[in-house]
Symmetry: C2
Subunit: 238 residues, 2 copies
DNA sequence: CGCAACATTGAGAGCCATCAAGCAAAGTGG
DNA sequence: CCACTTTGCTTGATGGCTCTCAATGTTGCG
């Protein structure tokens, strides 16, 4: 996965398919998608490599095409807050200043689409539908962060974990939701830093949900929901 | 303050001045500001009254003209997360769906400008500069919430309070920053719900900063910074 | 003055962080 | 193929920070 498809046509198809499933291109004409495609760069990254870096010039936006990624904010003293877990089709690149406010790195080998800022925002000016989609994604991101804030500010450890599991489950394609199976590409320490907990407390939160009969874990990276409704109640954020 | 200015010209001036100091109208032509002014409604509200309500139809955006306000998210069980403290000129009204994701209420008697959604977003379509400003404010809000998330997820009580005090101090007009005096229009319970703490822990955090020589409090609603630099280090969010 | 609302402080309990040990899975090299 | 190492997860013990419950102090107002 770390290497790109060999043939030019395969690479083009991967880029195009990724754009088409993303919210970015909702309602766009084929020719408009083609203009985005024309400025897209494809990058293959191995696991645990930086996509973009906090404080660096915000000179591009990204769209993961495969693999799993996370967004994080680090302080000088080693503290780290994980802000989001990303996957195929997620938009990455909001910034209020000229610099990125966070870093993003791959959890697993990934391919990402890169759009240089200059060309991307020029296109956004030219295509009102694209600009509208960016605004809508921005609002969705804000909504997600507000949920996140509520969970961290108000919930205890096992309920915070329920919140994350519920978020992840909402992203599982509906066809596969019947099995109630969730893959966790991230490690316990990443989950902990997402929820404002240590990795030990995170692990104990898994045990708690297991003991309470809400989930089972075949292995540490796979969770099966036994009682989605109880989990949803725990995860409730208003 | 709860009652509006008596004369029509005074009301008009208040609305216009509020628009002009807000980020919303940065760089707009006078005639464009006038078009916003034409659809603005002025509302006088006493302390602790709802401006807008979580779950209700997002049929307007608001701009406080005087007084102090807060934004909050409540869950069914009485848990509450305060999301922001607002004042004159702050934009209020982002929503990713048709409904508001939060409530907003006045802390003190306030006057707010209300812009019906229909007219407001039509104007945004007609005035690219306005639409751009909305996008920029959206990015600023996102940046603030990410800081907030880091503080709540990673910091302990007294450092979270330092974070809030630092945020509030950044909003003091530069001319007055020399005195290092901050007014706190909110109660301890509001600060607690903003920081993910109880009001008692919040009060102890004030005592801690006082004992450590970082602040003094003439009374409970006024804080004087004795060591802004130490406070900034405590408040650091990456 | 007395009351109401808010803030502060104290005591004790509970939740989470820290330190530490044990376990499981995957990779390495002989 | 199997010791050995590495990495990550789980579990236990202990201490500390925050929450809860309670009492006291302060301010403002009728």
């Amino acid at each position: 996965m770390t290497s790109l498809p060999a043939s030019d046509s395969e690479r083009k198809r991967l880029a195009r398919d990724t754009l088409l499933i993303s919210d970015l291109c909702r309602g766009l004409e084929d020719e408009d998608v083609a203009r985005l495609l024309a400025i897209a760069q494809l990058r293959g990254l191995e696991a645990d490599s930086l996509i973009l870096s906090q404080g660096r010039e915000a000179d591009a936006v990204y769209l993961p095409a495969s693999g799993h990624q996370l967004v994080e904010r680090s302080a000088g003293n080693g503290q780290r807050q994980v802000l989001a877990f990303l996957q195929r089709g997620d938009y990455l690149g909001f910034s209020s200043s000229q610099q990125f406010l966070y870093s993003a790195r791959t959890l697993t080998p990934s391919i990402v689409l890169r759009f240089p800022a200059r060309g991307f925002y020029e296109l956004a000016e030219a295509l009102p539908a694209l600009k509208g989609n960016i605004g809508q994604i921005s609002n969705q991101v804000l909504a997600r962060v507000l949920d996140h804030l509520f969970a961290i500010g108000q919930k205890r450890a096992h309920a915070r974990l329920a919140f994350l599991l519920w978020q992840l489950w909402q992203r599982v394609p509906e066809k596969q939701q019947a099995s109630a199976l969730i893959e966790l590409p991230m490690r316990r320490v990443d989950i902990g830093d997402y929820l404002g907990l240590t990795l030990e407390t995170t692990s104990r939160a898994f045990s708690r949900l297991r003991d309470d009969g809400l989930i089972t874990t075949a292995h540490s990276q796979q969770v099966q929901l036994l009682d989605p409704d109880a989990l949803r109640r725990l995860a409730e954020v208003g």
